[in-house]
């Protein structure tokens, strides 16, 4: 089966920039699928959308719609549309005529295109606001109209460029709900660019873009349990990194030996990844646990993070672990505590030595809301 949208070997460099913005990007989106491109700001995700839409030309690579290259097709004739970060509604048109814009371009009559537009406006729950001017709308309403306008263009693929990032939490959640409704009703093919993990979770698959490269492309669950690289793990956040060595399916670090899932048994230097909610605290000096000193107790959403500095025999920087516990821990900085690693199913390794990153292991580059 041919993918609805294929990006193959896309490289891009902004004029005068030393580093490429995008380096050899390969991505496929199947018909009716939703792909999220997740990356920190400056990772090149917006550029990727603009290249796909034809608003920027790539240095190398190809953009295909249904298997046909559209690299030489002008953006207005490519069978895709973009919803930008800001709503950018046309100020000289009413809300209804904004939604009817694409149909008017196709030569449909005013009444015909307005009738169609009204259906899309109903779909985004703004059926009554058609006669209003864009200026009279709230931020959330503006983005809904922009979504209706993009949908009414009825293009093969819809590209969304962080369209909800400027909205507050409540509005963003309702926009996510609306996106789910729209997908159920119209089954569009969607590429969503975002820096928000919760937003990426709406998609069928998530491509993680770091410094112009796709580091990982899989379901959101896999990102949380089995990130392909340290960069992906840090982007997702909540991982403890323990540098060490794998020998015969067992990882050895300052926390001692940890058995790994059998599939991960390649020998050599490797960083053990353990999610903070996978670790547990026990009484200090229990057998089979490592003991450390509590340095901080931090509120994290409805949980608490206990940061434990592990005793290290070597003079290198001490390893700090973050353990997520339920509210109401009695531990205070200065207390001693034991830390228990989860079993093999809760662990993951990424081969290679780790740079000095102990401090960053508990903080994410992303905003996890």
């Amino acid at each position: 089966m041919t993918a609805a949208l294929t990006l193959s070997g896309i490289s891009h460099r902004h004029p005068g920039a030393a580093q490429p913005t995008l380096a050899g990007i390969d991505l496929e989106v199947q018909d009716g699928q939703m792909l999220a491109v997740l990356g920190p700001s400056g990772s090149g995700k917006t550029t990727l959308l603009r290249v796909a839409a034809g608003l920027e030309q790539p240095e190398a690579g190809d953009v295909l719609l249904d298997g046909t290259s559209v690299l030489d097709v002008a953006p207005e004739r490519r069978d895709l549309t973009v919803m930008f970060q800001k709503p950018h509604l046309f100020p000289h048109l009413s809300v209804l005529d904004n939604v009817a814009f694409a149909d008017r371009l196709r030569g449909q009559s005013r009444s015909q295109s307005r009738a169609t537009a009204q259906r899309y406006l109903d779909l985004v729950h703004l059926g009554d606001l058609g006669p209003r001017r864009p200026r009279a709308l709230s931020g959330g309403q503006e983005q809904r109209v922009a979504l209706a306008r993009a949908l009414a263009a009825t293009r093969r693929v819809m590209l969304l460029d962080e369209p909800f990032s400027a909205l507050d939490n409540h509005l963003r959640t309702s926009m996510h709900q609306l996106l789910v409704e729209v997908r159920a009703a119209l089954d569009p093919t969607v590429v969503l660019v975002t820096h928000d993990l919760d937003e990426a979770a709406l998609a069928d698959r998530v491509a993680v873009l770091v410094e112009g490269r796709i580091e990982h492309c899989d379901t959101i669950q896999t990102l949380y349990t089995a990130p392909k690289t340290l960069a992906v793990a840090r982007l997702v956040g909540g991982f403890n990194e323990l540098p060490g060595v794998v020998r015969s399916g067992v990882h050895h670090s300052i926390l001692g030996a940890a058995a790994l899932p059998t599939s991960l048994a390649a020998d050599g230097p490797a960083v053990l990844l353990a999610r903070k909610e996978g670790l547990a605290l026990t009484e200090p000096h229990t057998t089979g646990t490592a003991t450390g000193l509590v340095v901080e107790v931090r509120q994290s959403g409805p949980h608490q993070d206990v940061i434990v500095e592990m005793a290290s025999s070597r003079p290198v920087a001490a390893t700090r672990l973050t353990v997520e516990v339920r509210l109401g821990t009695t531990l205070r900085p200065g207390d001693r505590t034991g830390v228990v690693l989860p079993g093999p199913e809760g662990l993951w390794v990424v081969s290679g030595a780790s740079p000095q990153v102990a401090e960053r292991s508990s903080t994410s580059m992303l905003t996890t809301r």
């Binding site: 839409a53 608003l55 002008a74 953006p75 207005e76 004739r77 895709l80 549309t81 973009v82 930008f84 800001k86 950018h88 046309f90 100020p91 000289h92 048109l93 814009f101 694409a102 008017r104 371009l105 196709r106 001017r133 864009p134 200026r135 009279a136 306008r149 993009a150 263009a153």
Partner: protein, 291 residues
């Protein structure tokens, strides 16, 4: 010390009276000078402020030279309408070029600003040197002075209209460009991904967005062209002369009894400009509504 919040609230409360105090000097100066001047012009035109003799209310100022006044009004309207249409068309074309082209834009903008700083009088003098029947264009082209078209001081006010359109198109271009601003780039991109080809981008996005600025700058060009003296004085012919030239001639002539006629001419010119503004402003406001 006052806590910060209270101080901010105090700042906001003081704003209304502050605004009135800020605009007052400018408003008073304008009202005093223009009110006095226009009042004096109207009074003079009605015979109430004669240079010599007793004040006497009469419409002689308007009726004594009614034929000349009508011809001058026609000439003024012809010049103003032609110059406005040309300036608007050229200005919009330049603005389109500026907002569309990526590079070389700064040169076009710099040229437009340069044109704007050149005084109309200099422009008119240069146009005269260039387009007259013994001008540079005639010498360069090699056409004999006899067959050179009467651009300067001829039957039709070609040179006057061209000079006004040349300088005012730069004004229109800069006003329209500024009003489009960054917003146009974003909205054009939206229209592109919704399927708008270059022609549709111009019709459905650029033109509607530019319309309020285009209308208001055209109005300014129109009233300026109605009221300008030096351009038509240097480039026009003796008869028919536009209203400002006629007013000057009558006002500065030796015949002091012609002053009511001069003032009447000024009243007609002012009335035309005010009517144009009164007709156009609701349109400008409607175009710019809800933006």
């Amino acid at each position: 010390m006052t806590p910060p919040l209270t101080r901010t609230a105090h700042l906001r409360a003081g704003r209304q009276s502050e605004g009135a105090r800020l605009v007052a000097p400018a408003v008073i100066l304008i009202v005093a000078v223009t009110g006095t001047a226009i009042g004096a012009v109207v009074a003079t035109s009605l015979g109430l402020l004669p240079l010599v003799g007793q004040p006497r209310l009469s419409a002689d100022g308007f009726t004594a030279l009614a034929g000349d006044l009508r011809a001058a009004t026609q000439e003024s309207l012809l010049i103003a309408i032609a110059a406005t249409l040309l300036a608007a068309a050229i200005g919009l074309t330049i603005a389109t070029t500026i907002v569309r082209a990526g590079h070389g834009v700064r040169l076009v903008v710099a040229l437009a600003v340069t044109v704007l700083t050149v005084p109309h009088l200099v422009g008119a003098a240069a146009t005269g040197l260039l387009l007259s029947d013994v001008g540079l264009a005639q010498r360069w082209s090699g056409i004999s002075p006899a067959s050179w078209p009467e651009l300067v001081g001829g039957r039709w006010p070609w040179a006057t209209v061209l000079e006004l359109a040349w300088k005012e198109s730069a004004f229109v271009a800069l006003v329209v460009t500024a009003s489009l601003g960054r917003r146009y780039a974003d909205l054009r991109e939206v229209s592109v991904v919704l399927g708008a080809a270059p022609r549709a981008q111009w019709w459905r996005v650029l033109l509607p967005l530019a319309a309020p600025a285009l209308a208001s700058s055209s109005l300014i060009v129109f009233v300026y062209s109605l009221g300008t003296y030096e351009v038509a004085r240097l480039l026009g012919r003796a008869y028919p002369e536009p209203l400002p030239v006629m007013a000057y001639r009558l006002f500065t002539g030796i015949d002091v009894t012609a002053r009511p006629q001069a003032a009447a001419t000024a009243v007609v010119a002012t009335g035309l400009a005010l009517s144009a503004a009164a007709i156009t402003l609701p349109l400008v406001r409607r175009l710019g509504a809800d933006r």
